[in-house]
């Protein structure tokens, strides 16, 4: 069993806007590309060109259809990766200490050289956010691009996770959720950011911004119809037009 460090002041994580996510999978593939080439073992693919292809991904987008009590059904896209929980069960379950939560920023990582590929952490994670790489036999998970966010070889503006940098709709935000004044904390406060499955008691750092209400039936004043007609046919319209034109600036003929 592995110990969690004392809670860090700095809690790096993602804020994902479910109102804006169009489900394009840009984050999924950008993550796959960066993390194949960087931290730890590459993310492999089995049956890559065959039946039933399956590979290792650290971030996947799930789509759910929701039927509200009134109004048409809605489709919500939910990107999901490790939520870097404060009480991370994947860490405490690890028999070798390979899984750990960084003391300085709260990022949950796997030290691959100590990982025996037993899979207990994936079993313990209620979010299904860890994937055992079939080729390397080691556990893979979101690193919050720990090799980008502090990387002095990258321009400062690029020191953010690959998924955040690439998101075309700007639905992903990265920052310190331990700092109430950070942009991400402000966003969570303004938009009512939520924990995913809070009942699991894992205290995820990542937050989700809920979709805004949709298909809201406008309230209208029955005494004032939407648009007051000015004419009932083409002829009447021309009559209105002549009057309207003469009231335009410089209008009188």
């Amino acid at each position: 069993m592995t110990q969690l460090p004392p809670p860090s002041a700095k809690k790096l994580g993602l804020v994902i806007d479910l109102d804006t996510c169009v489900g394009c999978h840009a984050c999924v593939i950008s993550c796959k590309g960066w993390n194949t080439e960087n931290y730890g073992a590459p993310l492999s693919d089995q049956n890559a060109y065959g039946a039933d292809p399956s590979g290792t991904f650290l971030n996947r987008v799930h789509s759910y259809e929701v039927q509200p009590e009134t109004g048409p059904a809605q489709l919500i896209h939910v990107p999901k990766s490790c939520l870097h929980c404060e009480d991370a069960p994947c860490v405490t379950v690890c028999p070798t200490g390979a899984s750990y939560k960084r003391a300085e920023d709260g990022i949950v990582l796997v030290n691959e050289s100590d990982c025996i590929g037993c899979g207990l952490c994936a079993w313990a994670c209620p979010y299904g956010a860890r994937e055992l790489d079939a080729k390397e036999g080691v556990m893979k998970k979101c690193t919050l691009c720990v090799d980008r966010i502090y990387n002095e070889n990258l321009p400062e503006e690029d020191r953010q996770p690959a998924c955040v940098r690439t998101c075309p709709a700007g639905a992903r935000h990265f920052g310190d959720l331990g700092d109430p004044d950070s942009d991400v904390s402000q966003l969570v406060a303004e938009r009512g950011g939520m924990d995913l499955m809070p009942e699991q008691g894992t205290k995820p750092v990542n937050k989700y911004l809920p979709p805004r209400p949709k298909d809201v039936v406008p309230e209208f004043d029955i005494l004032a119809p939407y648009l007051e007609p000015v004419a009932s046919d083409g002829k009447g319209f021309v009559g209105w037009l002549d009057k309207a034109l003469s009231s335009l600036p410089g209008g009188a003929k």
């Binding site: 990387n151 021309v238 037009l241």
Partner: protein, 940 residues
């Protein structure tokens, strides 16, 4: 730090070098940073400085590394040795391949150039491939626009000098209400997502009008689940409501549109329905200053929207009166259209009221004085912050042209085009139809064609017809069947060539067009046409040359394969002469350059054309001494001069500091590379809006070389060329349509936007085939290319047919079920899945996921081939017979656009088959199959 915590290098080296080029994973053409390690491609991300994507990149773009390394890449030129369609080839040298091609093409060029049909699919170099075809002398050239979105492009150009995507965009920074029609995920992909993100951040509202609520519609604040093919009717109902309430921008309409231009109202006149013109040919308005006739563009003229004019017994009324007569009619009242559109009348009224409120009550004004072409100075730029976007969804119907026109009319009456918060054109657009070339088709053996192939007809005199009335082009573009077919009709080439109608051809030469599969209607029929033999045992289409980078389904059907490079191994120019990548605030172009060298015996197709053009001695491709003029495409990009001072790339011309116009610069491509692969010049702030009408913009456009003289114009709510075709169908003029087409032309080529039911509704029984069937392209996949991509195929590896609740329950479907789907043309058996967020009479699936066994280096058991399917098998290029002895094209009658989305089907539960039906025999792969497992790190 905890003692247990390992030491981590948080600043690892990212790459040896970053090479900046242009993506080609779809048509969006974003800037990419290609990170190199050990001379190999290691990682691809978006280029933050690039005008298109500003750093972001979609799933396709990020997966480019897998496309570049795909096992499906062709390796060497191939010569067919088995029967066509078998996939039996032998590898040959480039010398042999080019000699063979020359031996086929040279005699054609010298005797009958039209016997070559050269069509280039998803080509991004049409100004070059078109130039090549022009030099060859064949009239038979086009790219894929005819089966894609020509309705949108042509309606936009004829109406207002530009449409969406490459032509224009919403003013994302100012718009307060954004209305999106139809599937739009497939074009302009990152900019639309960025725009949606921007307006969401500002709290602006988005309304999605689409039978299917996925993708962008899933994040829309309001969803209007319209019945397919009725968008035009819905839009004209909005126009009805707005006009009826007087919620139209009268000042804008009077000044900047032809709403005030006078129309001859005498049905007995041969000028009936045409503009009243002066001796110089200028359309006439009544000037409010004088009450007298004046040309629309006269200095100081204040056009009157309402004044009529009577002379020689003929009344002339302004276009706006005609619009009032038409659109105030109860035919367009919400109650009259609600059932057909599947939208309650009250909802239509509410949406019209929303548009009116935002446009007029929430108008914005920028403090930027500007002067219009009549010399009037406006102290502010007034904006109507409602914006729209549409693409294939409303376009791919047989009523698509008029529907797109209707949408532009809605934008224009609100005063929301080229005004703050509305739609903005992207330079070098706007450019009216009259400033575009006309189509050319005059063939002279051994010589070039008389001009560019594609253009904008202004009346019957511009049609490409022989004296006997037969079409000059193999695809019958610019014939009476579809007089404004601005992008040609690629989807008709093979069936017309096979039928010898209008004539037989010798060689079919295609590039990047998967015509034996997902790019054709009636895919099975096309395969038969490509392999059909005549009584002598010869192929009916004698020779087929095809160029592709990958082992697509089409490869097996060619006699000679010219293998192309991947997009990271080639030169390209994203040219202003072609399909530009500009933004509303800037004119931009870009290059691709070989960030890696090919490791196969392949050549960039455009470089091959430079070689082939020289071997054929074509003008433009040989020097005076007969030697090859352009050694390769890079040489052409650098040194070709299209008009004085204007070449394929507008940046870094002359000495390197000249932009827009200038002599060829031998160092130009290097300057692009140094600049990140692109060039941009910003539009002056006082020319940023009102571009068609603004003196400042017009002067800047001439300076930049978009055109050679200022050409202000007004929006054409009333498109006079449409009326000229209609008048011909009524018997006016010497060039007359065949009788069989008179009724169709009269009914559909109306100069003001109309709606008519999709043609399929009149050819198949809507009661027997009650369900609309659509496709959408997924955001993570670009037609057939994505399949070979090991990462992307894990996202979209197969495609169920999505079925709405009503049909799901009526058929007792359950998860895992399959259905037989039948159209008037054929049947398929496919897996189904339930989706509640759908129009209740619409089913749909993802486009082009289904694959032929043996193609794309996939295993034969790949889900794309066993569960994936194409709707193409249900769609025919001709509509079913209806007893009049004729076969009508399944196309828009104005532009010839393929009417993919008119499809009607019936659906019933099926026993679970082994595989999706129909099952076609596998083709032999010329490249073998991909590896079982992937897992590499370039840096190790």
């Amino acid at each position: 730090m905890s003692l247990d915590q390992p030491q981590l290098d948080t600043s690892p080296k990212v790459s040896d070098e970053v090479r900046k080029t242009t993506c080609y994973m779809c048509a969006c053409r974003c800037g990419i940073n290609v990170h190199m390690k050990d001379g190999k491609v290691a990682y691809i991300e978006g280029n933050k400085d690039h005008p298109v994507n500003q750093g972001v990149l979609c799933a396709k773009g990020s997966a480019g590394i897998m496309q570049h390394n795909a096992p499906s890449r062709l390796r060497a030129p191939l010569k067919r040795v088995g029967e066509r369609g078998s996939g039996e080839f032998e590898e040959i040298s480039w010398d042999e391949a080019l000699e063979l091609a020359t031996s086929w093409l040279k005699p054609i060029r010298e005797t009958a150039p039209e016997k070559l049909a050269f069509f280039t699919g998803r080509d991004q170099s049409q100004s070059f491939t078109g130039f090549w075809a022009q030099g060859f002398g064949t009239p038979n050239f086009a790219a894929h626009g005819g089966f894609c979105s020509v309705n949108m492009a042509a309606a936009g150009i004829y109406t207002m000098g530009g449409a969406f995507w490459e032509f224009g965009q919403p003013d994302w920074d100012h718009t307060k209400l954004f209305m999106l029609f139809g599937v739009a995920e497939d074009h302009d992909s990152n900019p639309i997502k960025m725009g949606i993100g921007k307006i969401k951040k500002r709290g602006a509202r988005m309304i999605g009008v689409n039978p299917i609520r996925t993708g962008y519609n899933a994040v829309a604040d309001d969803w209007v689940g319209i019945t397919p093919g009725t968008d035009g009717l819905f839009i004209l109902a909005l126009v009805h409501c707005l006009m009826k309430a007087g919620k139209v921008d009268l000042d804008y309409l009077a000044r900047f549109t032809n709403a005030s231009v006078l129309i001859n109202e005498d049905p007995k006149s041969d000028q009936f329905g045409l503009f009243l013109r002066d001796a110089d040919g200028q359309p006439q308005v009544i000037d409010r200053n004088t009450g007298a006739l004046a040309p629309w563009n006269g200095q100081g003229v204040e056009p009157d929207l309402s004044a009529t004019y009577r002379a020689k017994g003929v009344t002339h009324r302004p276009v706006f009166h005609l619009m009032a007569d038409r659109y105030l009619s109860d035919d367009y009242a919400p109650e009259a259209v609600a059932d057909r559109c599947g939208i309650p009348a009250e909802r239509i009224r509410a949406l019209a009221a929303d548009l009116a409120r935002v446009a007029f009550d929430e108008a914005i004004a920028l403090d930027r004085p500007w002067t219009d072409f009549r010399g009037k100075t406006h102290d502010k730029m007034v904006g109507r912050p409602v914006s729209f976007h549409a693409m294939r969804g409303i376009s791919a119907h047989s009523n698509g042209f008029q529907t797109c026109r209707a949408l532009h009319t809605l934008q224009i009456i609100l005063g929301a085009v080229e005004t703050p918060g509305g739609m903005r054109f992207k330079p070098p657009y706007p450019k009216p139809a009259t400033a575009h070339p006309k189509p050319h088709g005059k063939v002279t053996p051994g010589a070039a064609l008389d001009g560019p192939h594609l253009g904008y007809t202004q009346g019957p005199e511009d049609l490409l017809l022989h004296d006997d009335g037969s079409p000059k082009r193999i695809d019958k573009a610019y014939s009476w069947d579809n007089p404004m077919s601005a992008h040609g009709l690629m989807h008709m080439v093979i069936s017309n060539a096979h039928a010898g109608d209008p004539y037989k051809i010798d060689t079919l030469f295609m590039y990047m067009a998967n015509m034996s599969w997902n790019s054709s209607m009636n895919s099975g029929g096309v395969m038969k046409m490509l392999t059909d033999k005549d009584e002598n045992g010869d192929y009916v289409i004698p020779r087929i040359i095809y160029s592709d980078a990958y082992s697509s389904e089409m490869v097996a059907y060619a006699d000679l394969i010219l293998p192309d490079t991947t997009y990271l191994e080639r030169h390209d120019c994203i040219s202003l002469l072609d399909r530009p990548i500009c933004e509303a605030d800037g004119v931009a172009d870009a290059i691709r350059w070989p960030v890696v060298k090919p490791d196969r015996d392949v050549r960039g197709f455009q470089s091959v054309l430079c070689d082939l053009g020289a071997r054929l001695g074509m003008p433009g491709f040989v020097n005076e001494d007969g030697s090859q003029k352009y050694q390769d495409y890079a040489d052409y990009i650098t040194n070709h001069i299209r008009r004085p001072g204007v070449g394929p790339l507008a940046g870094f011309r002359g000495n390197g500091d000249e932009h827009g116009r200038g002599e060829a610069n031998p160092n130009q491509i290097n300057r692009y590379i140094e600049n990140g692969g692109f060039w941009i010049e910003h539009v002056p702030e006082n020319a940023a809006y009102y571009k068609p009408f603004s003196n400042d913009y017009q002067d800047w456009a001439v300076k930049m070389g978009f055109y050679d003289a200022v050409q202000p114009y007004i929006f054409q709510l009333y498109v006079e060329p449409l009326r000229k075709f209609q008048a011909a169908a009524e018997g006016i003029g010497t060039r007359q349509p065949p009788d069989r087409l008179r009724g169709q032309i009269k009914a559909t080529m109306d100069p003001l936007p109309i709606w008519y039911a999709p043609f399929e509704d009149g050819h198949v029984d809507p009661a027997e085939f009650p369900v609309h069937a659509l496709t959408q392209r997924p955001m993570a996949m670009y037609h057939s290319w994505g399949t070979q991509n090991a990462w992307l195929r894990q996202i979209h590896g197969h495609n169920p047919l999505y079925v709405p609740t009503k049909i799901w329950e009526a058929n007792g479907f359950q998860d895992g079920d399959w259905a037989k789907v039948t159209s008037a043309h054929g049947s398929i058996v496919v897996p189904v899945a339930h989706q509640a967020s759908l129009n209740e009479n619409t089913v749909w699936t993802w486009n082009a996921i289904g694959k032929r066994k043996g193609a794309w280096a996939l295993d034969e058991g790949a889900p794309e081939a066993t569960k994936g399917f194409l709707l193409n098998h249900l769609i025919h290029e001709l509509l079913p017979p209806r007893g009049d002895g004729l076969r009508w094209a399944n196309s828009d009658p104005v532009t010839g656009q393929a009417a993919w989305f008119d499809l009607r089907v019936k659906i019933e539960k099926s026993a679970v088959p082994n595989e999706a039906q129909p099952v076609l025999p596998p083709i032999k792969s010329p490249v073998g199959k991909g590896p079982k497992e992937l897992g590499w790190k370039v840096g190790e």
